[in-house]
């Protein structure tokens, strides 16, 4: 480790870092703007200036930029010297020439890095007397506000948006002091990761529009550590609340999962918490079909009564916590507990779990995905199903650049230099999908194939690598795999074989077990030699994997329950946080619900299932409750209530536990607290034993005190309720978690799972996170949040899985060959709207499109229809708008899975298509040619 001298003090620092990072890691405050721990250095803002001396005799020294200066043994620097300080002050003064000084009305005020740096450098007096430049702002869509006058031209926005996240519609325009960061024309920012601009911009140019409209200063937000419920990646978040409303979601740093960035589904989708569809009171359906509000105790009594009588079954939910699902399972018994997946998904999620658990390949966390030097994606459009993984893959393709950089001895933080060196050279990324995906622009090769061919391609690659079932592969090669693709398979094989850290990705979206198995075969064929092979199988929801573990492979599925119900075997059905109409077709769910005499539903938002219930219990949402979720990498993570449940909502586990107690079920007598349930579940289900380690329990104290949800400057605690009473109520004590609903306590050095907000003296912005890290950009001091249940190189810890029985529908994908007159339905999920909850977020409402059907031009032409026409799918399964897509595999009909009107469509089903005669075209709609490249057309 090199030793450097800063202002006369010797420090040991880490080799390969730059001086700025090293200073921050040492706890020395060195101001900066353009550097970002995840994006490296470019030396634009010149804010991180220090003086470097040639040797001990050198008394003058010269100014260098900390972020551009490697630390080397014996180097001598000064941060505190006048020369450096004056320079840094002059930089801030220069940055402020055109800055509007509108902090009082700026959404960044109070958490503004520019404010912090201004104070840090001591700039106070303004010398400039000229006029300020002003800019016109652009409309950038419903999510992000644009206020260009506040810009300090640090280039972070475009570096993040374009270089890091691959967005193409935001750029630096003009030159000199007229530089403008914006779009070619006003319009919605197209990147799925645009929201991070809010956190990346060090001042108030890009701000969260929902927050701007429903404004609260950072110091007035009450926050808690949380986990995104948008998909199965499990990004860590810090939602902020005031007045019982969720005001915004910020990233919570997790070195192994999301790092510094979220996707827009996660950031803006959580707004469903404020939806006007939120249920407030327990309700009982009366004879006339209307609901009567019930007192919560009465509701509980009714529930207990009904559950105590007759035969009870329960349907859990892959979007509800492990604990709530566990209690429901206890309530109804394992044999009567369906996990709440669709039938196909139930098979596939269990299979994904089994394949990962049994694989010798590493199940990578998201940060490890970034290290992959060759990637094969089979069938999964990760940008739309597990978005944060797509962002990680965009970094993985840069490993080629880092290799080239290493030859020239360039440090990895030399961002611009490395990009200039590598230009368009990337590590191999192969995508086989039913049609184009947003990652195609960084792919070496994209193959658009029907699901059966995707599986066959995987098998061929596995066989080429000397693994898998080579007979199946040969058979498939002859059948499903067109000759041209065989050559591609060889190229993919070669690239993977040549890699040191190959990664195979697949998922459940296509509805194909064969694809999942093929991916696992490729990975296992690669598990030899010195390679570190990775296998990542995506599942759809925040707790899909946890639910599969909890329910086990033998759990009944929806069809089984429906059959039992129809046979009169179920009297009372309890549904936990699940809109069943998204899981099975309408007729089947209608039949199920009609066959049960009592349907009790616990959920947070009104939906088709709550509408069909007899008794509805309003369940607290993720921001009002605690729970454990198991992410797609098998990471158990805990979310905590940000604020207390509003109205009569209760956490589902609270309802269920109370119900069990009311039923005098003695096994729950020892359970009092949330932690007790977690422990009981862990004890009961060995594969979930690790969940207790997801976060410290209720008794954790940070140096003797709790962890405050409110920052020290939280204000107006009395005034905020003054319209009700001027007496400030005693703050409710949190009896379930180590967090307090007050500003008393200590927010420092605690485990990462308990980090509610970041702030440090002098660092009011999110940049203060480095004060919580072991080193700038490194893991959190208190440890990384979450506990892995699937261990890397899974074979060490087999879960109690047994081979999953084949499911006819899912395995069907192996059957290849187009059937004349029929199209195979393939899901085309969308980041906005394909999942149940984010679609209800007011912020995203505008961005959720109606359902659609995608066909290749030839298929569309054959049917005599074009983009904008209506298509009738099957026998009145759906009528949807057509989008012609050049890239869609022939014979496949993509559908906007989860979007309005697609409820009856199931992956891989063969359906007929015809023009919908009574369809009204939307006015002014045309096929757009905004393609990413040749041959791809988006509509």
């Amino acid at each position: 480790m090199p030793t450097i001298t800063i202002d006369g003090v010797h420090y040991e620092v880490e080799q390969g870092k730059n001086l700025l990072e090293s200073c921050l890691s040492l706890g020395l405050d060195l101001p900066y703007f353009c550097w970002h721990p995840a994006m490296g250095s470019i030396g634009a803002c010149r804010q991180c200036a220090v003086v470097q001396y040639q040797n001990a005799e050198d008394t003058r020294g010269r100014i260098v930029m900390g972020c551009m200066t490697p630390v080397s043994d014996g180097a001598i620097f000064s941060l505190a010297g006048d020369k450096a300080q004056q320079f840094r002050e002059a930089i801030v003064e220069s940055l402020m020439l055109n800055h509007p000084h509108d902090c009082p009305v700026c959404a960044e005020g109070g958490e503004c890095h520019l404010q912090d740096m201004t104070v840090m450098v001591g700039h106070r007096d303004r010398h400039y007397r000229g006029r300020k430049n002003t800019h016109r702002n652009q409309y950038l869509g419903p999510l992000i506000n644009h206020e260009m006058n506040r810009c300090i031209t640090c280039y972070r926005c475009t570096r993040y948006y374009r270089d890091y996240a691959g967005g193409t519609d935001l750029a630096a325009m003009a030159a000199h002091d007229h530089i403008y960061f914006g779009r070619h024309q006003e319009g919605v920012l197209q990147s799925e990761f645009a929201g991070n601009l809010v956190e990346v911009c060090p001042t108030g140019v890009f701000t969260d529009k929902s927050l701007v409209h429903d404004y609260t200063r950072k110091w007035d937000l009450q926050s808690a550590p949380s986990v995104c419920t948008g998909c199965a990646v499990g990004c860590n978040t810090m939602p902020g609340e005031r007045y019982g409303r969720l005001k915004r979601v910020h990233n919570r740093f997790n070195a192994e999962v999301n790092g510094y960035f979220l996707c827009d589904r996660g950031r803006f989708g959580a707004g469903f918490v404020n939806s006007d569809k939120a249920l407030e009171y327990p309700g009982l359906r009366q004879a006339d079909g209307r609901y009567r509000a019930l007192d919560h105790h009465e509701a509980l009594l009714r529930m207990a009564q009904q559950c105590a009588q007759g035969r009870v079954a329960g349907i859990g939910s892959p979007r509800a916590s492990v604990e709530a699902n566990y209690l429901l399972r206890q309530l109804v018994g394992a044999d009567n507990f369906a996990p709440g997946f669709s039938d196909t998904e139930q098979v596939l999620v269990s299979l994904a779990l089994q394949l990962q658990a049994d694989s010798a390949a590493l199940v990578p966390d998201i940060a490890t995905i970034e290290s992959a030097d060759a990637v094969l994606i089979l069938g999964e459009d990760v940008t739309n199903t597990a978005p944060r993984i797509a962002l990680a893959l965009r970094q993985s393709v840069r490993n080629k650049a880092y290799e080239l950089a290493a030859e020239l001895k360039l440090e990895t933080w030399q961002d611009a230099a490395i990009r200039n060196l590598a230009q368009h050279q990337r590590s191999p990324l192969f995508i086989a999908a039913v049609a184009d995906t947003p990652l195609d622009d960084v792919a070496t090769q994209c193959l658009y194939l029907a699901p059966a061919s995707i599986a066959a391609l995987g098998q061929a690659v596995a066989a080429g690598l000397g693994g898998g079932d080579s007979k199946a592969a040969t058979d498939n090669a002859a059948g499903a795999l067109p000759r041209a693709i065989q050559a591609e398979a060889a190229a993919i094989t070669a690239a993977l074989a040549g890699a040191k850290r190959p990664l195979v990705i697949a998922g459940t979206t296509c509805g194909s077990a064969a694809i999942l198995r093929a991916a696992a075969e490729v990975a296992s064929a690669l598990c030899s030699g010195a390679r570190q092979t990775m296998l990542c199988l995506c599942v759809p929801e925040a707790n899909s994997l946890g639910q599969a573990i909890l329910a086990g492979p033998d759990a009944p599925n929806l069809t089984t329950l429906q059959q039992r119900a129809s046979a009169g075997e179920i009297d009372t059905l309890v549904v936990l946080e699940n809109d069943l109409y998204r899981r099975g077709n309408e007729a089947q769910i209608d039949a199920l619900l009609a066959a049960c005499s009592q349907v009790i539903v616990l959920d947070g938002l009104d939906n088709a299932t709550t509408s069909a219930a007899n008794l509805v219990l309003p369940a607290a949402n993720f921001a009002e409750s605690e729970g454990t979720l198991v992410s797609l990498e098998g990471r158990a993570q805990r979310y905590f209530p940000v604020f207390q449940p509003q109205a009569e909502r209760r956490a589902a586990w609270v309802w269920l536990l109370a119900c069990l107690k009311e039923m005098e079920r003695s096994e729950v007598y020892p359970l009092h607290h949330f932690d007790d349930i977690t422990r009981a579940c862990a004890a009961d289900i060995p594969a979930l034993a690790g969940i207790t380690a997801a976060a410290p329990d209720l008794h954790y104290l940070n140096l003797g005190v709790k962890i405050p949800r409110q920052p020290a400057r939280y204000s107006g605690r009395t005034a905020m309720r003054a319209n009700i009473s001027v007496h400030e109520p005693k703050q409710r004590e949190d009896e379930e978690t180590p967090l307090a609903f007050t500003m008393e306590g200590l927010n420092r050095d605690q485990p990462g799972a308990l980090l509610p907000w970041v702030w440090a003296p002098g660092w009011n912005s999110n940049q203060s996170v480095h004060k919580f890290q072991t080193e700038a950009g490194g893991p959190l001091k208190g440890g990384t949040a979450g506990a892995r249940l699937l261990h890397p190189g899974g074979s060490r810890n087999r879960t109690n899985t047994r081979p999953v029985a084949g499911d006819a529908a899912a395995e069907n994908s192996g059957v290849s060959g187009a059937q004349p007159g029929l199209w195979q339905l393939v899901p085309r999920p969308r980041i906005f709207g394909s999942d149940e909850l984010s679609a209800m977020s007011p912020a995203l409402a505008e961005l959720v499109s109606p359902g659609f059907i995608e066909l290749c031009p030839a298929d569309a032409a054959g049917l005599g229809i074009d983009t904008g026409d209506g298509v009738e799918v099957g026998d009145q399964l759906a009528t949807l708008e057509l989008r012609v897509n050049d890239s869609m595999a022939a014979g496949c009909a993509g559908y906007g899975a989860g979007l309005a009107g697609t409820g009856n469509l199931r992956a891989l089903a063969r359906v007929s298509l015809r023009r919908a005669e009574t369809w009204q075209r939307r006015p002014g709609l045309i096929a757009s040619d905004r393609g990413a490249g040749p041959g791809s057309s988006h509509v």
């Binding site: 869509g141 419903p142 374009r162 967005g167 193409t168 519609d169 935001l170 750029a171 630096a172 325009m173 003009a174 030159a175 403008y180 914006g182 779009r183 070619h184 024309q185 319009g187 919605v188 920012l189 197209q190 990147s191 799925e192 940008t383 739309n384 230009q423 368009h424 947003p438 622009d441 969308r830 980041i831 906005f832 709207g833 505008e846 961005l847 959720v848 499109s849 109606p850 906007g896 939307r922 002014g924 709609l925 045309i926 757009s928 040619d929 905004r930 393609g931 990413a932 490249g933 040749p934 988006h938 509509v939």
Partner: protein, 175 residues
């Protein structure tokens, strides 16, 4: 670029959208032939289209971007960086008046005033008859002949009141 699955992002029919002419495409493709990737010829392409159309409108810019498989924003960032890519209409001829140091010493400010008087246009403006646009330009590398200006592609050296009268009289200008 990904379609953000929003109905709002589906562009509405825009009948001002333009396509590149065969000659423009030929010119651009000739440059592409020498380049490692298409977007590398962005500046050449902008210049080629500008040579044909006088300036680069939003529609032209988008047409070039499509041809180069790059985004309009990225191309606009490039176009707006360079001062000789015109993103607003200019007259038939552009007057580039050098206002750098040697020409300043030799009185380019007086020339500018005279042009304004004669043609009725200030810097950045175009005559009413659309014949001339007046722009300032960086040292034209003819300082020994200062003051100088260019009209179209022609350099005029040792310019004085007399030269300007000859150049622009009867131009029929006037704002």
């Amino acid at each position: 670029m990904s379609d953000r699955n929003s109905s709002a992002t589906i562009p509405l029919l825009d009948d001002t959208e333009t396509t590149l002419s065969a000659a423009e495409i030929a010119g651009i493709d000739a440059e592409i032939a020498h380049a490692p990737y298409r977007s590398a010829v962005a500046i050449d392409a902008l210049k080629i289209v500008q040579a044909h159309r006088g300036w680069v409108s939003d529609e032209s810019l988008r047409a070039i971007a499509r041809h180069l498989h790059m985004s309009a924003a990225e191309l606009d960032g490039i176009a707006t960086f360079y001062n000789l890519i015109f993103r607003r209409p200019v007259g038939e001829k552009v007057i580039l008046l050098c206002n750098s140091i040697s020409c300043w010493i030799k009185g380019c400010e007086g020339l500018q005033q005279q042009i304004t008087q004669q043609l009725g246009i200030g810097l950045g403006e175009t005559t009413g008859d659309n014949r001339y646009t007046l722009l300032p330009v960086t040292c034209l590398g003819a300082c020994d002949k200062a003051p100088v200006l260019m009209v179209g592609e022609d350099l005029h050296e040792d310019v004085d009141a007399q030269t300007l009268r000859q150049l622009f009289d009867n131009s029929g200008g006037g704002a």
